[in-house]
Every structure is written in structure tokens, then in C-alpha cells.
Symmetry: C2
Subunit: 163 residues, 2 copies
Amino acid sequence: MISRPIIYRQIGVIHSEHTVAEKTPIQPVYARCCKGQVRVFGEYTEGLRDLEGFSHIYLLYHFHQAPPVQLLVKPFLQDAERGVFATRAPCRPNAIGLSIVKLMKREGNILHVEDVDILDGTPLLDIKPYTAKFDLRDVTKSGWQDEVDNVTARKRGNRNYKK
Amino acid sequence: MISRPIIYRQIGVIHSEHTVAEKTPIQPVYARCCKGQVRVFGEYTEGLRDLEGFSHIYLLYHFHQAPPVQLLVKPFLQDAERGVFATRAPCRPNAIGLSIVKLMKREGNILHVEDVDILDGTPLLDIKPYTAKFDLRDVTKSGWQDEVDNVTARKRGNRNYKK
């Protein structure tokens, strides 16, 4: 099936201390205290009003250094092949990344964030508030991740990142 | 600043009982029991392997009926103007929607889901697992949403949707 293209535009840049993809923590929960700045292009600054009231925000971004698409992939946390949509791996058909980061402060069009698992220079697509009402759900099953104990997950998830 | 385009492709279609944008619940938590099906195009079926182990998944999709971009918007839950990035309104610079839905069953390339707040016919961009390890965060502040009590939020959030 030939599907139609959907075209977005970069609305800013994410800066972080992570400059090598292979050493970047795989998720915010394994990137505690990793600081970053989100520089939203000036023309969008008005849209950031009131964001500073939220302790956590979603960043949606383009995995600009994603490897080629693979439908089956070994996730970072486990040595077993899984469907790519059952993982957060970057080698997905549409290379859209999603991270929940802590919002520490806003200065105009700059957001100071923590728990950043994102490569320096990553193009920003969208920002959404993460809220108690909408986003805390009663998870009963986390699939193959339930087989990975927390110590292993933390060790493999932070990819030996040392603060 | 002229920013570069980022091009994605539709990977499937979301079907639901919501056919009118103005009557569609604004979030999954206000769409309890609303059923839907995600039809992933056959060429991506292999990527869905193992997804059935997760009780909840993120759907990322294109708001194909989004109104024109507005940087300041009155959110559905409150009569005050807020920056669009501090809301989940569709009129955002990149019209990407994000919903956490319950995954009831997978049949090949069809996902049967619940808590669907998505308009019928919406183009699918990506699917990610929602997991206890990655996605349950210690929210301390939910900004302007903390001013909206739960009864008002539920009433305005489901938009008089009657099951």
C-alpha cells in the first residue's frame, strides 16, 4: 500500500550533554540528573505560555541519527528479538522519539529540563504537558519488560553513563 | 527561521465510533469503554510482534482535521487562554496527536483498543508500549489543570459523549 506523506517542520532544537548515540541513556528514567535545554524557535515562544506550571512535559522529536528501519529488533534491555512497535528503539518506520522530562525552568523560549535521554542537536517536533489527570494509567502488564529486573534495566538502560 | 521539513508516512488507520470532531472526547480518560480498531498496513505487521503483552500503548497519529495553528488557545477544560504547548489541543504547529489506549487484543495487523478519543479514519504514525518502568512519573504539578476539579474535567472532557 502506498501511503501519503505527512510533513512536519522542526520547531526547535534539543541540547544535551549526550553527543554519542551509543552512549546516550535509553530513557529519561535512566538519565536522572542529565540536564538539557530545549531551544524553541522564537516564532513559537507565545505557545509556551503557562508551560512552566507543569513539573513534567513530553518532548516529541525526530531521531535524526536513527539507524535504518528494522521491524524486528533486540531492545537495549534484553537479548531477544521483539517487534519494533513493542520497543522504544529508534529504528522505527517513522523515527519519532518521545521522552517525558522534568521541566525545571522556562526562560522565554528556552526550557531547562532534566532526565534528558536525547542526543545533542535533536530536532524538536512538539511539546505537550504530562499531567496527573491524563497520563498516569493503571498499567497491569508491561509485556517483555516485566521479565527484566530493575537492576539489570538500570544497568543496561543508562549505558554506563557516569555523571 | 526557516526550518527543514521532516517527512513521515502513514503506517495505518485508526477506526472508532467518533465521526464528528466536536463530539469526540478530548482524552482517553474521558473516553472510557469507547472501542476502536487500529489497522496497521500489512507491510508493518511483523513490527507488532510482542505488543499484545502490554496492557496500554501509545498511539501517535496525525490530527487530519486539525483547525489552523493557534499559539494561544482556550483548552477544552477551561475558559482561559493558554499557550498551545501547555495544552493537548490539535491546533498545534505540528498536528501530532498522542493517546494512551488500552490494548485488548491483537489479531494479526489489527489492534482492538479501548478508551479511544480519536476520530474515525485518523492516520496512524507510530505505536509505542506504555510501561510501568518508563512512563509512570512522579508528577508534582499539572499547571492550570490543577485548577480544574475532576467533576468539571470529566463533564467537559467527554463532551457529552453518551455510551
